[in-house]
Symmetry: none
Subunit: 406 residues, 2 copies
C-alpha cells in the first residue's frame, strides 16, 4: 500500500494537522457507565465533531494492545507488523543519540528492589527528572565500559533511561530476552540471547545490572535497573519519500520525537516542562509556514490513564479541549484527532480497544456522531478501520492524492 | 497473525466461554420484517446484550457462504482460506475414526432416487439414526473392499455417513469433483479426478455409487448415495499451542467434535440425544475447573433454518435463552455469543449474511446495541469484522494477550 500511496502522492499547499492524544481511548469504571472521553466537558471538540466525520481505529489488529511504537507507526501509515522498531532505538534517537551499524540501544527503567532483591516498584516511584540525572551520573562514573565495550548511559525522563553499547568492529546482536519481568514481587530476570550475535549483548546487559545495583546500593528508592526492548537501528522509508510531505513533529517526550525522526520528520523545539502544551502550540504557530504536515502529540491523556486516575484523565482531555481553538485558528485544511492506542484508567495500561478517529476537512460528509467519544465514533461514517488507513484518508482530504488508474 | 497471537499469548486463570449458535443469522420472511432472532423472546440474551459489546462477523469474506468447517475454523482463529479441511475428514474424526497419511475420508448423504435415477430428495427424507445404521450395515456387507482397497463405512446421523478408503503403500489423492449435484431432478454426478493422485480415488467413488445403488435396490426411500467433500488428514497448530489455552469442546454432533479435535480441543462427553442442551450444560458445569476455554455448540438453530421452519428456529433460540442463566452462573470472565454462519429459514440453507457477535467481559464499552439481533448488532462498537478477529478479541478481554511492541 505504501508503494501505491507513494505513486499517487502529489505536492500541494494544503496543510494537515494530526493530533495524537496518547492513550485516548478509555473504559467506563463500571459496566454501562461513561468513559473518560464521554465524561469530559469538551465544547470545542464537540463543535468540531458535529462538522467532522468520525470512526474507530484499531492500530495493529483485533484484540492486539499496541505499544507506543507500533501505535504511532500505524498512524503514520507504516504497517506495524512489517515495520518493527525496538523501544531502545526509539528512545536513543529521541534524545538525539545517533545509532550506527552494530550498535545496540537498550531501554531501561529504574526500579525499587527490596532487601531480598524482589521488585517493589517497576518505576522506582517515578523519580523526578533531576533525580534521574543524578542517578545516571552515578552510573556513568561507575560503568564507563564493560568487557572492553564502550557504555553510554543517557537520562530520558522520570524512571526511564537508555544505554547504548558500541563495539566497533564486531556488531552486537539485539535479539535477547528482557530483564524486566513486568511484575512486582519477583527478582529481575537474567537476559538470555536468542542468537549467536546477541550472546555478547546478553553478557553486557547482565553485567550492567549487577554493577548498577552495586553503584546504587546507598539509594533507598532508585536502587535497581530493569531492561526491556533492545534494538539496532531500523531503516524506514521517510514520510517525505512516501507522501511527498514536509513533516514536522511537535512532541516533548523523547520516544515520540525519536519515532518521528525515524520516519523522517523534522523534530521541532518545544519550550516548557513535561507535556508543555502551550510550548507545543507556540512551536506549531512559529513553524506553520514551513511544513505541510504536523504531528502534534499530547502525552498526559496516556500517563493519567496508566496511573489509573480516571478524573485526572478527564481533566487532561478538558485541558486539550481548551487548547483546540488555537489549533483551529491556524486554519489547517485537514485536522485529525486520534490516539495511538487506548489507555483506560480502569486497566492502568494500554489496551486493545479501538480509538476514536475524527477527520475534519471541507470534504467531510455529515454523520450521526456528535462528539469525539468511543460510543459516538461508532456512529460515524468512517467505520472501524486499521490505523494504516488514517494517513491515506488525511492525504485524500488534503487533495494530495491523484486518482488511481485512468 | 496466528504467529503474532502466539507470541503474545499468556496463561492466566481467566475463563472464556464461546457459545456458537449454529446458523444463527437469519432473514425476515418478508422484506422489512423481523428475523428469527428479532422475533424470539429472549429476556436473558437481551439483558446480557445491554451490558456487552456487539458487532457483526463475516466468517470467510464478503458474500461468501461458509460451510460449517470454514465457519468454525474462522471462529477458532484459523483463516479458513488458508486452513482447509474437508468435510469427510471432519466427519471421520468426529466419529472417532483416525485418519492416516494417504487415507481419504468421504462424506456421504443417503438420497432418494426415482425410477429414472433422478434425485427426488438429497437427504432421503432424513431417515432416523436407526434406519441409518441398518443401511450402513447393508452397505458394509455389500462393499467390504473395492479394487483391492479397504472400504470402511460409518454411520453418522440421519442421512449422513462417512466412507474411508485406505490404500496402504500408495497414498490416495483427495482432489476430485462431487457426486452430489446439490440439486433435485437430476442424476448423481460422476466424480472426476483433478490430479493424478486422485485418479484411483475417483474410480473407487464411482464404483461405490454403483454398488451401493445395487445393494439398496429393495429400499424405497434410502436407495442412493451422494458424495460431497473428500479429504486427507490436515495438520493444524493446536489451540493450546497458539493460544496457550486448555480448550474443551461441548458438542453433540460428530462434525463439530471432529473439528474441535483437529484444533486440539478435548472433546467432552455429553449425555442425551440430538442437541442435548441439558447434557451440554452438565458437561460444562462438571468440567468448569479443568479448562480455560470452552466451545459450546448449539445445533438446532441451524437445522430448523435448513428445514425452512421460521417458527421452529425462533423456538430454538428461545430454548437457548432459557438456558443462558445456567451458563452465566458459572461466572465466565469472557462470554461470546456468535454463529458459524447464517441459516435463514427463508433460504433453507447457509447464507453469506454476517452473524451477530456479542462479547461480555468487565472490559466492555457501552454501546447502542440493546439486543442480540442482526439489526442491533450493527449499532455495536465491535463493528463489522472477520471471524478470525473473534479469538484475539476474546483473548484480549480475558487479559491473556501481552502488549505488541514497546
Amino acid at each position: 500500500m505504501l508503494d501505491t500511496i507513494k505513486a499517487l502522492a502529489k505536492k500541494t499547499d494544503s496543510k494537515i494537522l494530526m493530533v495524537v492524544l496518547d492513550g485516548i481511548g478509555g473504559l467506563p469504571l463500571e459496566l454501562g457507565g461513561e468513559t473518560e472521553l464521554a465524561t469530559a466537558k469538551t465544547p470545542n471538540l464537540d463543535a468540531l465533531a458535529k462538522q467532522a466525520q468520525l470512526g474507530q481505529v484499531e492500530l495493529v489488529g483485533a484484540g492486539i494492545t499496541p505499544g507506543s511504537g507500533p501505535g504511532h507507526l500505524s498512524l503514520f501509515g507504516y504497517d506495524p507488523l512489517r515495520f518493527v522498531v525496538g523501544r531502545g532505538a526509539l528512545s536513543a534517537v529521541g534524545i538525539g543519540v545517533k545509532l550506527g551499524f552494530g550498535d545496540v540501544a537498550v531501554r531501561g527503567n529504574f526500579a525499587t528492589l527490596n532487601a531480598e532483591r524482589m521488585i517493589d516498584d517497576r518505576r522506582a516511584g517515578r523519580p523526578s527528572d533531576e533525580k534521574n540525572v543524578e542517578i545516571v551520573d552515578k552510573l556513568r562514573a561507575a560503568i564507563p565500559e564493560l568487557n572492553g565495550v564502550k557504555v553510554e548511559i543517557y537520562t530520558e525522563s522520570e524512571h526511564r533511561f537508555v544505554v547504548v553499547f558500541r563495539n566497533p568492529g564486531t556488531p552486537l546482536g539485539a535479539n535477547l530476552s528482557d530483564v524486566d519481568p513486568q511484575a512486582t514481587g519477583v527478582p529481575p530476570l537474567i537476559a538470555e540471547a536468542h542468537d549467536e550475535a546477541s550472546q555478547k549483548t546478553a553478557e553486557l546487559v547482565n553485567a550492567f545490572v549487577v554493577q548498577a545495583e552495586a553503584a546504587l546500593k546507598s539509594e533507598t528508592q532508585v536502587n535497581g535497573v530493569l531492561f526491556r526492548g533492545y534494538s539496532d537501528v531500523p531503516h524506514f522509508p521517510s514520510m517525505g519519500d512516501v507522501y511527498g510531505l514536509r513533516a514536522a513533529c511537535i512532541a516533548s517526550y523523547p520516544m515520540y520525537k525519536g519515532l518521528a525522526s525515524l520516519v523522517g520528520m523534522d523534530v521541532l523545539e518545544v519550550e516548557g516542562h513535561e507535556d508543555a502544551l502551550e510550548g507545543k502550540v507556540a512551536a506549531l504557530q512559529d513553524s506553520w509556514d514551513s511544513y505541510d504536515f504536523f504531528y502534534f502529540h499530547v502525552k498526559k491523556t496516556d500517563s493519567t490513564g496508566e496511573d489509573g486516575d480516571f478524573h485526572a484523565k478527564v481533566h487532561k482531555i478538558e485541558a486539550f479541549d481548551e487548547l483546540l481553538p488555537q489549533l483551529l485558528a491556524l486554519g489547517p485544511d485537514v485536522i485529525a484527532i486520534v490516539g495511538d492506542h487506548s489507555t483506560p484508567s480502569k486497566l492502568m495500561s494500554h489496551s486493545w480497544h479501538p480509538v476514536p478517529l475524527l477527520i475534519h476537512s471541507q470534504y467531510a460528509r455529515k454523520d450521526a456522531a456528535q462528539r469525539y467519544t468511543e460510543e459516538e465514533a461508532q456512529k460515524g461514517t468512517l467505520g472501524l478501520r486499521r490505523g494504516t488507513d488514517v494517513m491515506p484518508l488525511l492525504m485524500a482530504n488534503a487533495l494530495k492524492l491523484q486518482k488511481y488508474g485512468a
